[in-house]
Point group: C2
DNA sequence: TCAAAATGATTGAACGTTCATTCAGAGCTT
DNA sequence: AAGCTCTGAATGAACGTTCAATCATTTTGA
């Protein structure tokens, strides 16, 4: 533990792991502190209160996702290529960071997730919207509200990563081909 | 409040509503009791403890879903027709029962949702699996693991119902056509 | 150059609150 | 009166949060 930033990150990581494993109930400050190797009181120098900590975790996580997915997008490429690259990046990101996915899964479906939270973390949400708007403008995908497209694609990517992790070995034996999935999604959204 | 069964249902309904609105954190027994119009202790004549109550809510909810969706399926019809009927039923069910959807959303993504829970409530989970297996056997949809199909379809239905409820009026102005959604999903899963 | 002072992070015991759960007694039905 | 359901105050554990005290680091000033 060196800098203050590192301690902050350690708290965030611990909280995220506890929420991933035990839910929002089941992540007491006392345990977050223990896991992070700090005293309970220390958490309150980094966050106003527990709620603020949870929003802090979300902010961190959504920024990481932005870097791992949005920043790797190349708007010069044809949209179909961008789409498959996007799919690959987001799948890989979730697969490599199961705690992040577990946290996001729960956060996004919870009452913590409000419109205000989206406004306070515009980078990712604005980027995804523009991503699909690009696809529509170029005539590559159906002219459908980006909110709808986002759901279809992102929820599917989310769930597939989860299945891959939970049932990966079982499904491998049955020769399930995960790579067919993005093609299915593409079939759903591509322009006729 | 007449019979015991009705009191049980009242507790379940109250717990469900609180979880929908405030999450698993934010649903204390004291409030469930208050909302249900019973004393806190009464809940413990119907459930062993709080966890048991939450699983009780899930059981109730999944049975309702089974009745509202699975029992309305007619296996005699061509699969495509069954699929669109299924979509309509599940969308309508979620739209008419927002607390159920809010609860399910959170439950299914939470650590409460384990493989064991699925085994204890086989009706719905077995039915969906068989539904997709039927489609595959008849050559109507792609030969893909039913787990994957289930995710793609059910998660999408879930999310769409949520959007419809949250952004319904906003999207209506923009003339978003929700009816296009099941066709997109069908395009994704139909056999080539 | 170096002690003294200031700063700010860290600690963990202590606090007040809230929680899930219990249970003795009351009420109701048969 | 027997056998239940129901009540809600009581219980003790667990929780989020505070804060006086401690510690480490930096700044000051002679």
């Amino acid at each position: 533990m060196e800098t203050l930033q590192e301690k902050r990150i350690s708290i965030i990581k611990s909280g995220m792991e506890l929420i991933n494993e035990h839910g929002f109930h089941g992540c007491p400050i006392s345990q977050v502190a223990k896991k992070a190797g700090v005293a309970a009181g220390t958490i309150y120098t980094y966050f106003e209160n527990k709620e603020d900590m949870i929003y802090g975790i979300f902010k961190e996580v959504i920024q990481k996702q932005y870097k791992a997915v949005a920043l790797k997008d190349n708007p010069e490429l044809p949209f179909q290529e961008r789409f498959f690259k996007f799919w690959e990046n987001i799948s890989e990101f979730y697969f490599q960071n199961p705690e992040i996915q577990g946290f996001l899964d729960q956060f996004l479906k919870s009452p913590y997730n409000t419109e205000e939270v989206h406004k306070e973390n515009p980078s990712w949400f604005e980027w995804t919207e523009n991503f699909y708007l690009d696809g529509i403008r170029q005539g590559a995908i159906k002219d459908i509200n980006p909110i709808i497209l986002k759901i279809l694609v992102n929820e599917s990517a989310h769930s597939l990563a989860k299945v891959k992790r939970n049932f990966g070995k079982k499904l491998e034996k049955k020769k399930v081909d995960f790579s067919s999935y993005p093609f299915m999604i593409w079939d759903a959204i591509k322009a006729n």
